[in-house]
């Protein structure tokens, strides 16, 4: 996926592969969200978790998920959301 995603872009969270250190909460896997902002560029936690050097570094994004889209039963106002910081390789274009 392109190295820099723009705010407002729609993305989908990739389902985790069980064998890796994949810090993506289950409730957002496979779900669509919106890029809020680019947080920065950091060493890859999957690589670090297995004793690697963390390279190449990965872009970290804050992604917003609308609670009404996540939970069928959500009764609160439409803008309510949860935001999660996710690395580029855990996201795909929606």
């Amino acid at each position: 996926m392109a190295s820099v995603l723009a705010p407002g872009q729609r993305v989908r969270v990739r389902p985790a592969t069980a064998s890796r250190h994949h810090r993506t909460p289950a409730y957002v896997q496979g779900r669509p969200g919106t890029i809020v902002r680019h947080v920065g560029r950091f060493k890859d936690p999957e690589s670090l978790a297995y004793g690697g050097d963390g390279l190449p570094e990965r872009e970290l994004y804050q992604v917003a998920f609308i609670l009404r889209e996540l939970w069928d039963a959500y009764a609160g106002p439409g803008p309510d959301s949860v935001r999660v910081n996710l690395y580029e390789h855990w996201l795909e274009h929606a």
Partner: protein, 192 residues
């Protein structure tokens, strides 16, 4: 063999083989355990009374709290400050492993923050959780839950209470509760 015994054995080996120095370990443990909610409250009170500091805190919280002598040593976490307003209310949770709590500023998290119930419900029904903490928000207020899953930590700057204009920073800090700095409640009202 208990976990504590195993950890002590691993620690002794790391020190013996020169991977870590005993002073490094003490330094890290001190930095995890000595901050207390009053430290965070002092940061919030400063932000309320100094708009330039508040801007720096929102732009780069790690640098801003170091100005006040807090939090400098925990290099592997990244602190972000967020601001609650009349229209926007942030709540912090760590659904994967109870991370997200700004330890470098508040010290170890309370038991409820680590509970499975809180971690499951904060992202599913945040308004119900807020009500249980005594925080009733109208529909005009957007709730924004921050789920910390990596090395991100969040400090919530609660809304400054009404009629607090004349108060000194120390009096302001007394209004800032631990729970208000993770978004579960408002700051205390000013006593009439």
């Amino acid at each position: 063999v208990s976990a504590a015994t195993r950890i002590r054995a691993i620690e002794a080996l790391l020190v013996e083989r020169g991977v870590l120095a005993r002073e490094d370990l003490r330094f890290v443990i001190d930095n995890l355990t000595t901050p207390k909610p009053a430290d965070g409250a002092a940061v919030v009170a400063r932000a309320w009374s100094d708009p330039a500091f508040e801007r720096r805190l929102l732009d780069d919280a790690n640098a801003a709290i170091r100005e006040l002598g807090f939090g400098g040593a925990i290099a592997f976490t990244n602190l972000f400050a967020v601001q609650n307003t009349e229209r926007l209310h942030h709540v912090v949770v760590g659904t994967l492993d109870a991370s997200g709590y700004p330890r470098q500023l508040l010290g170890p998290p309370p038991r409820w923050y680590k509970s499975l119930a809180y971690r499951a419900r904060a992202v599913r029904e945040p308004r119900a959780v807020l009500r249980e903490f005594g925080t009733e928000l109208g529909d005009e207020v957007e709730v924004r839950v921050l789920d910390a899953v990596s090395h991100d930590r969040y400090l919530v700057i609660p809304r400054r209470p009404d009629s607090s204009e004349g108060l000194q920073p120390s009096a302001l800090a007394a209004l800032v509760t631990r729970e208000s700095m993770v978004g579960l409640e408002e700051a205390r009202p000013v006593a009439a």
